[in-house]
Symmetry: D2
Subunit: 315 residues, 4 copies
């Protein structure tokens, strides 16, 4: 869960708060963040705006399968506006607890507060154990726990949150591991301003957004030929509406390898030539550490040998 | 916004409620729903469960760029569980109003209630006009308006919602058209149980989910060759994690044309053969009515001529 | 070297003569030709014209890497004019002998007669053993031997021909196996009029000629997608000028499988739809008997299962 | 028919002889050959061996649709052995005359001498005007005319040859323009030793031979993706058996553009990486002078802009 090479000049970190969210867990899992300043923000947009404005050096935000929302917001915020780059990723196993004020029994719970995405992931457990409970949306899972732990009046009796949000809060855990899907993981990315490029580790990813010249049958196929002809694998591909309107799309893509790898560099140049625009969103160490396996003929050495051969032909 | 052929046996409709959401606006725009029973549900899952269970004949849910959440929920609910099919789509222009109890001035607003996705779409306006206002999440935009319009105590002074949710509620509209992106549109789909297949209109879409045999470079390219070799265009493509885990993906795809079109049928059969699984999620009239333009050699007549030619060769 | 199922109604056979050529060897290797009438013709065109006119039921002609010429002639004669189909193929190992009238020693040979293609294949041996010998072109390798074996005056002392052409001719063999390339094989095809379609054997080939709609970058790629999307492998591909002019091309192609195989049939229909024209030149048992290995999802059973699935979707 | 830039250091030229063949016509059409030494050779192999040995600086040989044979010989001689490169091409319109010794009437012709490939191209005319004439193969069309023009005994009364071969020979032309296909053109190439690379003209071709790593369905498709992803068009493609055996193939390819063009260079490097071997056979001005039309994003300027962009990303 740590990058091969800490990005040491990053000292102040923002994240999608409040304290106790899964996003903060992701930030704590990031080696370079230990002992650093960590500032919670109320939304992905707010965290990225703080980064763009210089209030923080990096921001941890959810990008895939989140329980705190923000996934579409993150993709769209990175695809537009002042450029930012991803410099790392963290995978956080998702487990939920149900917690309440001391003395509350499970049978006494009539309303449950949590983020709507978390609620969607515990519905089966809730249906079985609290079939009559009402749902109250909160700004985040941690906010639900914090409200219960505070002195104020709250309209729910129990909160669904990360285990860490209950710890030390004075709340009691009524049930653990109540998520409907065991093994669920959420992916977070650490974002920085352009100019920070982590060194290649041999197990890297690169994220880009592609804007097509025009839409036509086979158009996406032509884009994918740019990857296939250099042996570059995709790990995520999403078409997303451009400008809030239906009918025009861009492609948000994660690919295996680092911009400094020859095959990735040539692929990016190929995309740059055939696309209306290519937005580079960073190269960074994979959280799972799985090393890239270059197909035959696609290592840096293969590219160098081919370039030397071409130079001889042209001489 | 109406299908070429009403689906007349659908009489009871569920939707992502409560009344006054953009989803209900989508349902009202659906010709076949006029005068029918319309039942609000608290979540996409609940609406689709009611459909699966027979409580309603069809359910209207958001599927792309929603202000009420539910997009990932819809994609995932359709991709798994008891099969359902899309039988129509509706596009709803998204405009927001800020409303409050009579007598509340804009300057007096200290907290605003709305769904978190709607909040994300009015942040610029709020930043300019209500920079100090707190945000309170609600279950939906309509729920925020309904809470204000009711007698109970609420922790916010104003609601962001659809214009229709304010109308007739007794609330006053403080500002109109406060969305940050003019021209925004959200796409909703009408879902039914299998067995309902709208007739082709010449301007149709088909939705499928593809599960790959195994992941390898060029794997997606091979899938797309199935489309390209029959001249079938994609209008949406998203890779989505399978089973809540990272690393395995399926592809959620919208394509131009109807399952009864020869080129679409052959494409689906090709995908069925090379994929681990193909989940058919329906063919239905496009909301924008844009007729499909078949590339040379891909009309039904072209397929029939080729089949007749092959039959002669084999005779 | 024999088809799995003799084509028993073929009784009169033409071939590129005269007697004693490698082409006749190919015909003799064809099971169905044993004991049949066998008529030599002076050229590939003449043999195919006789077939078209009904004088013979089938004609054996060289199609790849021949020593008797005729390869381009065969490809072009099949690609144009009254349709014909290939119903079988034969591979003949090519070995050459040098023969002369009795009493002629190797040292006495001053001129050598043979077909120009055969001459090209023994040049190294001739350069080493008969460096001063002149070359005299003849209509075929067998014609060279026949001329020497006859009573007439000939302007050469020795002939290069197939071993069988020397046997029983009264000529003496001065050297055996004088070909420069050991292991050389020539491929011959048995051609018939349309209406004859050998039964599938599981180890079949199909030959087609494709005419593109228009020439553009990626045009050939689009044609090949028709093969790739159904898992059909090519074993020969040649672009050939159309109509004797440079700049327009057709593609002469051999593919693995039989027109009755589902994957081949669908590929042919796909080509028929996207090409300006497709000329079907027959399906026939492979001479080498190598069975086709269908890729995952491309067996007839896979096609049937996919068709049944589609029928259910459309019901 | 002349290259944009004469290759002035080439002073001694070999060609597929004898004098009076279409190949010599091609050489005479080559600007740089005017007034140079021109040496006829008895075969394509002999001409190329003389070139490899240094006896000549360049050799003109037929490569496509020839009337003098040698096409396969040329392709194979270039694909194997000591490397050579094509430095130019010439297109020669093919027209045939029938000529005879003075006093011979058309009705008196009983046997016709010519090269077998030329014979194939006048068969329709001969069938109509000399239905009873026998055919006598000769080493070349010019050799047939020369034999008739000489004093010796010949076994034919008339020769089919190029118009120029009859001129000044003392023979009478009995009929002109007797080819069955009007507008026929043969393509010849000028071959030199490696180290000669004509400057780009904007209307260039490049010839290569590709050897695949292994044969598998889609293998050729992968090779063609290397071309398509850089917008490079093919003008000729032939699979050819490797090593005289069936079952293993290489691909002989002409592509549009010059090795010095960025898109061609990157394509060649891509092929070098994924193929078992790539044999570069030269870049040279197109005989037809048709300028290359670069697809969007494939000019040298596009490649430079993409490279500059990548350098900024990596900085």
């Amino acid at each position: 869960m740590t990058p091969a090479r800490p990005l040491e000049h990053l000292r102040r970190f923002g994240y999608l708060g409040p304290r106790g969210t899964f996003t903060q867990m992701a930030l704590e899992a990031w080696t370079g963040a230990a002992g650093s300043e960590q500032l919670p923000y109320g939304s992905v947009d707010a965290a990225l705006d703080a980064l763009r404005g210089g209030a923080v050096d990096a921001a941890m935000v959810p990008i895939e399968n989140s329980v705190e929302g923000g996934v579409s917001a993150t993709l769209d915020a990175l695809a537009t506006g002042e450029p930012l780059v991803v410099v790392g990723e963290v995978l956080v196993p998702i487990t939920f607890v149900l917690c309440a004020r001391p003395g509350t029994s499970l049978g006494a719970v009539r309303a449950v507060g949590t983020h709507s995405h978390a609620w969607a992931q515990v519905r089966r457990w809730v249906g079985a154990h609290l079939p009559a409970a009402a749902y109250v949306p909160t700004l985040s899972t941690a906010a639900a726990a914090a409200a219960l732990a505070g002195d104020g009046e709250v309209v729910f009796d129990a909160a669904v949150c990360a285990p860490g949000a209950a710890t030390g809060s004075g709340l009691e855990v009524l049930a653990r591991d109540i998520g409907d899907s065991s093994g669920a993981v959420t992916r977070f990315v650490l974002v920085a301003r352009p100019g920070t490029l982590p060194a290649p580790t041999g197990a890297d990813k690169t994220t880009v957004v592609l804007y097509q010249q025009e839409d036509h049958p086979g158009g996406l196929l032509e884009l994918l030929e740019q990857f296939a002809s250099r042996g570059v694998n995709l790990t995520r591909l999403e078409s997303r509406p451009v400008g809030g309107q239906m009918g025009r799309y861009c492609f948000s893509i994660d690919l295996e390898g680092h911009v400094n790898d020859a095959r990735v560099g040539e692929t990016l140049m190929g995309l740059k030539r055939v696309c209306a625009d290519v937005r580079f969103l960073g190269s960074y160490a994979r959280a799972d550490g799985v090393p890239a396996v270059a197909r035959q003929g696609t290592t840096d050495a293969d590219f160098e040998a081919a370039a030397a051969w071409l130079a001889r032909l042209r001489a």
